[in-house]
Every structure is written in C-alpha cells, then in structure tokens.
C-alpha cells in the first residue's frame, strides 16, 4: 500500500484505481481515519484539552461534551483527540530508533556470524527475559520517568525483536553468491550489511514495524496508566484511563472507556494493516 501512495505522490495516475480498491478494505480505511485524527486531531477538538472547568466535573456524555468530562472538568473528547498525536508520535519515534538499531544489529549478526552472533543473541535473551513493564520500571528507577525516557524504553524493548527476526531472515544470505561477489569487489562489511543485507529484509522490517507500533502504543498506555509515562495534565490515553479508574466502581464509566476505546481501535487498525499486508505478500508471491 505504501508503494501505491508513493506512486500517487509521484503523479502516477495509473495507480489511482488501485488506490481506490485499497480504500475499500476495512483495515486500510480505519487506519486512514486514524491517521487523519492523528494529524488533524487538535483542529477537530472542540475544547482546550487542559482547561479545567471546576463547575462541570464528571458530567455524563451530552451534546456539549460528547464524551463527557472527567474529574477535573476536562473535556474527554478533546483530550482523546489531542492524545492521539502524543501517543502516535512517541510510539513512532521509539520504534524508529529501536527498529533501526535492531535491524542493523540483526543484519550484522547474520553477516558476521560467530562470536558477534553469539553475543548479540545472548543480549536478545537478556532483554527479553524481563517483562516489558518491569524492564521499563528498572530503567526508570535508574534514569527517571517522563516521556523522553519512555521513548528510550520503547527503543530498547524493540531492538531484540528486530534483531532476532532480521537475523533469522537474513541468515541464508551469508553464503549467497552476490555477497561473495561484493566481498571480492572489496566492499567492507558495513557497506555490505547496509546495501546488500538490509534491502533483502525490507518486507520483514516493514511488517514488523507496523506490529511494533501497535505494541508500543500499548506499552506507552500501560506505563502512563501506572503514572510513569506522560505526566498529567498532558492528555495521554493511559493516564486518562488511570484518572477515571477510581470512578468506575461508582458507575462513572466515560472517563476510562473512551480513551481505552481509542487504544483498541488504533491497535486493531494497525494490526489489521499488517495482516492485510501479509496476505498481499502471500498472494503476490503465489
């Protein structure tokens, strides 16, 4: 799908029909709506997300406040819309950093083999032996919480995922002829890894990228839920759910349910996109 969007951007109108066909697919459609909300969310929001209205706390959903208001009188709809931008950008940055480093290391492990491979795989095992949230807790104990360190945590958690999968998909290339040829031509290892190894894992990297964005959104929400990520009053889905959690036993459901729905829909849309892409790949390879 990305290819098609790029070709549209390059004014290749032959693909317009293909693009319209893509839009008919539900995951792509939902994902594009999500993307729209992420980009234009702040413009759509009816109220200021951090402007408290002390006279109007915990108001039920109504025409004035579609999603109701929370315990400080913040408008929940506005906060959900603003938070989309924060959540997505944090996830994207973290995954880009972690995925980049992880793919590079994975490709090097596949290329070098031997002791490099052994130690990189042990590194993977070490990082993956921690449950993600507890790993982030330990990291935050060392360097403090906040959104910047949360991005760091997401990057570190993503490195082993990419390392392992890119490595195993590139492993057969170590003995490939074109790699031997490149070596004979006098290219050094780093350039071979960048120019000849990584392009061969493009498909894997992309589908992993999509999946890990979804995963990252959940991690961000989870960390903010226990009060360690994005600090309130900045709108973030996880911390909004946390703010409403205490009221749900009293029957006040809207402060928690709506931000959670936003998480579910975005994660579902992203996962659906990756599933769609996988079936496309299988179909085109048959």
């Amino acid at each position: 799908m990305i290819k098609i969007i790029i070709s549209i951007l390059l004014k290749n109108h032959k693909n317009l029909q293909k693009m319209i066909n893509q839009l008919r697919r539900p995951p792509v459609f939902v994902f594009l709506i999500m993307l729209f909300i992420v980009v234009f969310g702040p413009l759509l929001a009816p109220y200021d997300p951090i402007e408290p209205k002390p006279m109007n706390t915990l108001a039920a959903p109504s025409w004035d406040h579609w999603f109701g208001t929370d315990n400080y009188g913040f408008d929940i709809l506005s906060r959900v819309l603003y938070a989309a931008q924060i959540d997505f950008s944090l996830a994207l940055v973290g995954v880009l950093i972690g995925g980049g480093i992880g793919s590079l290391l994975g490709a090097s492990a596949a290329y070098r083999g031997g002791i490099t491979d052994f130690f990189l795989l042990r590194f993977v095992e070490v990082v993956q032996s921690f449950p993600v949230l507890l790993f982030a807790l330990a990291l935050f104990a060392a360097i403090g919480g906040g959104s910047r360190n949360m991005v760091l945590a997401i990057a570190i958690v993503n490195i082993p995922l990419y390392l392992r999968i890119i490595r195993s998909s590139l492993l057969p290339l170590r003995t490939a002829e074109f790699v031997d040829a490149a070596r004979c031509a006098g290219l050094n290892g780093f350039i071979i890894v960048i120019k000849h190894f990584i392009p061969n894992a493009k498909g894997q990297i992309f589908s992993l990228f999509v999946l890990s964005c979804a995963y990252a959104i959940q991690i961000i929400a989870g960390l903010s839920f226990i009060g360690l990520g994005v600090e309130p009053p900045h709108p973030e889905w996880g911390s909004m759910i946390n703010a409403g959690a205490g009221y749900i036993m009293l029957g006040v459901w809207w402060p928690s349910i709506f931000p959670g729905l936003a998480i579910v829909i975005s994660v579902y849309a992203i996962n659906g996109l990756s599933r769609q892409q996988m079936t496309d790949q299988i179909r085109s390879s048959v």
């Binding site: 032996s129 921690f130 507890l134 807790l137 330990a138 104990a141 839920f225 226990i226 029957g251 579910v264």
Partner: protein, 356 residues
Amino acid sequence: MKLQNYSGSEDPQQINKYAIFSRLMRYFIKRLGILFIVLIAVSMLTFSVTRIAGTPLYAAIGVYSTKEMIEERKEQMGLNKPLWEQYTNYLIGLANGNLGSSRRTFAPVKDEIGDRLPATAELVIFAVGLSTLWAVPLGAIAAFKPHGWADRLGSILSQFGVSVPSFWLGLIFIYIFYYILGVFPAPFGRLGGADPPSFVTGLYSIDALINGNLTLFLETLKYIAMPAITLSFTSSPPIFSVTRSAVSNVLGSQFVEAARSYGIPSRVIIFRHIAPNAAPPIINIVAMTFGYLIGGAVLVEVVFSWPGIGTYAVQAMDFSDYDPVLGVVLLSATIYVVIYFLVDILQVLLDPRLRE
C-alpha cells in the same frame, strides 16, 4: 553386513544409545552455560541500576549528614571498593537471598516478596489454566477445520486479546460484573477484608480446600475470577495460534496420511498420532506464558488491587523505593529464564527427533 561385523561384538543399537546420551549431555551443558551467562547479565543490569540510581548510599543517610558521616558510611557499605568487588559482593548477597531492604517499611525485600509471590502465582496459575482450557481445544478444532466456526471464533478472540489493553479490559469487567450485575465482589485484593485461610501453600483457594472450608473456597474463586479472566484474554492469543499451527503441521505430515490410509479410526489417529506430536510446542508456549506472566501481570494486579509482586513494585516505585522494584525485576526475569531453560530441556526429552 560387513559394517556390523566391523564394529566387533558390541551391539550397534547400544553404541547409538551412548552417542545419543552423550549428545544430550553436551546439549544440556551448553544450555546450562547459556543460562548462566544470561543470569549473570541480568544481575549485572540490576546491579548497574542500583549504582546509577545511587540507592545504597541515598537510602542509608539522612538529609543532615556531614561529609565525614557520608565518607564513613561509604566505607562501611563498601562503596569505596573497586566496582568489580562491589559487584561480587552484590552477587554473594543475591546468592544468600539478600535483595536489600525497603526504604519505606525497612523490612527485607526478600520477606516482602515472599509474602506477595503466592498471590501472583495463584492469579497466574488460574489465568494460564483458563487460557489453556479454551485456547488449546479451540486451536486444535480450528486446525482440523480451517475457516470453520472454531477458527473464526478463535481468531476474533485473539485479535481482540491482542488489541485490548489488559488494564482497560479489567476496568470494563469491573463496571459490568461488579457495578451493573453485581456478580463479583469489588476489586479489593484476594479476599476483600475477610480472614485468609490458615497458611499451607499460600494459594488461598487451595488452602481453603485443604482446610475443608467450602464457602471460603467459593469466595476466593469469586475474587480471583475477574482478574484471571482478564489476564486469560490478553495472554491466550499466542497459545491459540501456536496450537493451531502445531496441529495443522502434524495434520499435513506423511505419517498421518499413512495412518489414515491404513484405515486406522480417526479417534485413534487423533490421540495416538496427532496429540503426542503436536504437544511439545504447545507445552512450550503454555510454560513460557506462565513464566512471562509472573512479572507481566503488573497492570492487571494494579487494577484489581491484587497484592502480588507487580503491585508491590509499582507502589514502591511511587515512593522512589528502588530495592523492591529491582528485587521484583530480578526475580521475575530469573523465573522466566529458568522456565525457558527447563522448557528447552523438556522439549528435547519429549521429542526424540530433536536429539539427532
């Protein structure tokens, strides 16, 4: 024929057995070595966190200490020694079960974790048991009839389980089953305010049964139901998909086809040929899920005020009390790595093909 004579009086079958045994031992030792390396690396990580966070000194001194007092304290705690010596001391401490002490309650972290681990273990056992109960049969049926009802139901449930955040699902359950329907009690820990059964295993439901207190047993089940169902939802998708692919792999193999063509009844094929061959990966994923959830149930524990190690770590984090956090991190990572190791060994023992 000549080759057999060449090997002398010994039975070739026997030689083969020795070879397999020595190979098994070599594999075992190699895995043990890797386990050791990973554990060392994990401990190095937590050690470096304690040094970066500056916990040992910060915890020990008050605000009004003079420079001399700080120096003296440093000497006492061995913080002036070279780093590797501090690390060995840390390891020796760990080997003796010394995880430091809480800055808030002044109790040793080891004891506090010991009190809370059974709560987490009980929750995780129920959750994984529940997941296994529904995800394994569903996955198997889905493999027999791809695109059938079981396949559809399973994939819808696992897509849902992957997309939904566990803490939010927990809140929804609280709203529906506590606030609206009133089926389950309020989410306040393992038994609300009631007295726990006398200590045998630390798992309240088992203890209540051992004591013969049936009403208490039912009560514990009521309290554990919501968190366990929540965890089961979010942890079962891998179990479902692994079961499905394992069974469908076996279904496509030649020996099943051969057994079918012999006219062996399908009930026999399922239990005699398919089940044992599909079991190892399923056992693997169930054990791994269990190992992961010990430390991975944090969010659900927090939502239901479940007094397990996850809630403990999060509460300690709120007070910048780092020893408990690191204790929990170290413990759950160790449990996960050890289970991973055991599962790997078990895999080789279960599946003769892997011994080659």
